[in-house]
């Protein structure tokens, strides 16, 4: 008896050990980031509406109106620019609009589109999708503003390299306009950008990638995934092993198309339910259909996920787009309009539709409302996050979870590479360029990959969101002061385009 009991005790103690490292990391992390998260997501007094969501959506609406619905007026021009219709053949070999767009997209299309949407729909219901699409469409104007400024105020060094982004356009633009506080805001932005790079661009990606892998192969401690990812990322960003990054950059677009393709296939398979799914989305958008917080809950989740996924107003895309070769900064603004469209209105919506249509979210047959289980909607296997998306796809295409696991790993990896660059730019803005400075940041970045994989979803996603949104607070403040500059550029370019001064090139 005692032998059996002691063996059982020892094996359970061993299992405890393997998990407790994860737990320790998790607890320490949650305690450390709690106050910061609480501040960012503080609700407006008397409501449960976080002020930060209002901040983002109001900004996007203001920009949309101020620039006269630029996302509609210049949409086809944006497509022409990406195709290369206005690219001078003499600029062959430089960064094209297409390349700038896809680089930025590889940073934004990540686990937010797959797992983040599942979180949104899992809490806010299908109605969150409507608000997510709306936020995506409005956010196009925020992206437009920040990317135009990113190109206009970039630093072009004599050796031919480029540095651009909100820290540059805020400090230079404010100085140009004689406004005080530019330097301070730029520094503040850089601090939040580093936190954002470590949070959403890193920890969240590693966390959900681990969730998907362990969903397939079985549970195992997260720090193992973290270490593997960290080693590969280290090899690329410190070791300069370009081949890995190059392979990823080529494969990610392919996986993106595969993902959207699979989603479309599932929608076609369930074509008779598409009407019902859209009905759920519209009903849920305005009544909530029983989700926590009603339709406001749906709205909050939808806006939050859109902002986190497409990063409109956050300022990270401005860093990526600033390297483009162009004489007209506003052209890159137009090109960046396409990003929230592709990221949110297409890819995120696909995820949301598949989750809705697959019936993973449980509906009470009597009330036709969604059943709630501890603050979120009850799901078929109690799934949340990427596991929910995986189950949703898996219910229609049984082998898709394996493909999704590969896609998730690649998306996570490419987002990490992109955000390591954004964080690095912010770091070097603060601490100066230089090999040692760069290595320090890169090592810190890799350590956080391990932490992210080990922590559990709750604290990680909260910190990730808070860090990214705090970037948006500073960036949008800057944009409000500088949007007049963009309006001048827009007016000038618009009239020159109409008069035929902007040349088209045959190609």
């Amino acid at each position: 008896m005692t032998l059996i009991a002691s063996t059982a005790f020892m094996s359970s103690a061993f299992a405890q050990d393997a998990v407790s490292l994860d737990q320790k990391v998790n607890e320490a992390f949650a305690a450390f980031t709690g106050p910061f998260v609480g501040l960012i997501f503080a609700p407006l007094p008397g409501t449960s509406f976080p002020w930060i969501v209002l901040w983002l959506v109001v900004a996007a609406t203001i920009f949309t109106l101020y620039f006269g619905f630029v996302q509609l007026r210049f949409f086809s021009h944006a497509i022409s620019l990406v195709k290369g219709d206005y690219s001078d053949p003499k600029d062959a070999g430089e960064v094209s609009h297409f390349q700038a767009l896809t680089t930025a997209l590889s940073g934004t299309v990540g686990l937010g589109n797959i797992a983040g949407v599942a979180v949104a729909v899992g809490i806010g219901g299908p109605g969150a999708t409507f608000w997510m699409i709306l936020a995506g469409l409005l956010g196009m104007a925020s992206k437009f503003t920040e990317c135009t400024l990113g190109v206009k105020y970039r630093n072009e060094y004599p050796d031919g390299t480029v540095s651009g982004g909100p820290m540059y356009y805020i400090s230079k633009g404010f100085k140009e306009r004689g406004l005080p506080g530019g330097k301070f805001l730029a520094i503040l932005f850089s601090v939040f950008c580093i936190l954002g790079a470590l949070g959403g661009g890193n920890m969240f990606q590693a966390n959900q990638a681990h969730a998907q892998i362990s969903g397939i192969v079985g549970d195992y401690p997260g720090w193992i995934t973290g270490v593997v990812f960290a080693v590969v990322v280290f090899a690329v960003i410190v070791g300069g092993v370009k081949s890995i990054a190059r392979v990823t950059e080529k494969v990610v677009p392919f996986m993106g198309i595969l993902y959207v393709g699979a989603a479309i296939v599932i929608l076609i398979i369930n074509f008779d339910q598409i009407g019902w799914a859209f009905g759920q989305i519209f009903d849920g958008a305005f009544t909530g259909l029983g989700v926590v917080g009603g339709f406001v809950g749906a709205l909050i989740q939808g806006f939050k996920r859109a902002a986190f996924s497409n990063e409109a107003g956050v300022g990270s895309a401005a860093i990526a787009h600033s390297a483009v070769k162009t004489k007209e900064p506003i052209t890159e603004g137009f090109v960046s309009l396409l990003e929230p469209l592709i990221d949110t209105v297409v890819i995120c919506t696909m995820t949301a539709l598949v989750i809705t249509i697959s019936g993973q979210l449980l509906i009470d047959p009597e009330t036709s409302l969604y059943m709630i289980d501890g603050g979120a909607i009850a799901t078929v296997d109690g799934n949340s996050g990427v596991a929910l998306t995986s189950a949703a796809f898996g219910s229609a295409i049984s082998w898709f979870p394996y493909v999704l696991a590969i896609a998730v790993v690649l998306f996570a990896f490419s987002t990490m590479i992109s955000w390591s660059y954004y964080g690095l730019k912010a770091w070097t803005y603060l601490f100066g360029e230089g090999k040692i400075s760069e290595i320090i940041f890169k090592v810190i970045f890799c350590v956080f990959i391990i932490i992210g994989a080990a922590a559990s979803l709750g604290p990680v996603i909260d910190f990730s969101d808070a860090a990214i949104f705090s970037m948006a607070v500073v960036n949008i403040t800057g944009l409000y002061f500088l949007m007049g500059i963009v309006k001048e550029e827009l007016a000038s370019y618009g009239s020159r385009l109409r008069s035929g001064q902007i040349k088209k090139f045959a190609h």
Partner: protein
């Protein structure tokens, strides 16, 4: 009117044979200028990392100067010392498209290239730039084996 011939080089040894043939042609024609072209394979539709984009301008200039030093200048020097009029051009883009574009711009009568240097699998899958050139060029193409 000076007859212009475009010679496409890719830096491989087989280019010497194309140059030798072009030199013979130039001597036969008399009033002839040889345009030595090196095309750096590049597409505006490729996928880059943010870091690559940031250093792209510098990289581009390095690529152009490397190509000029290693391929164009020696070729032009060899031809000039043999009393043949020659000029070098370096551009980024698709090999077949650029060679064709240059021929049209300069009103060249012929393009001369050596047989393709890509091998095996890639060639089977994507076709060689020489084959593409031959099939799509607007002026006669001579492929020197």
């Amino acid at each position: 009117m000076t007859t212009k011939l475009v010679i496409g080089l890719d830096g491989h040894g087989s280019g010497d044979r194309a140059l030798a043939y072009a030199k013979r042609m130039a001597n036969l024609i008399g009033d002839c200028e040889l345009l030595i072209v090196y095309v750096i394979e590049w597409s505006p539709y490729s996928f880059q990392t943010a870091e690559e984009n940031a250093v792209r301008k510098k990289r581009r200039e390095e690529e152009i100067s490397t190509a000029t030093e290693r391929v164009i200048d020696p070729a032009v020097a060899t031809l000039s010392s043999a009393k043949v009029q020659a000029r070098g051009i370096v551009r980024h883009g698709n090999v077949a498209d650029i060679l064709n574009e240059i021929s049209l711009e300069e009103n060249a009568t012929q393009i001369i290239v050596s047989r393709s240097s890509e091998g095996g699998f890639a060639k089977r899958l994507f076709g060689s730039s020489t084959a593409n050139l031959v099939m799509s060029a607007s002026v006669p193409v001579t492929v020197v084996g």
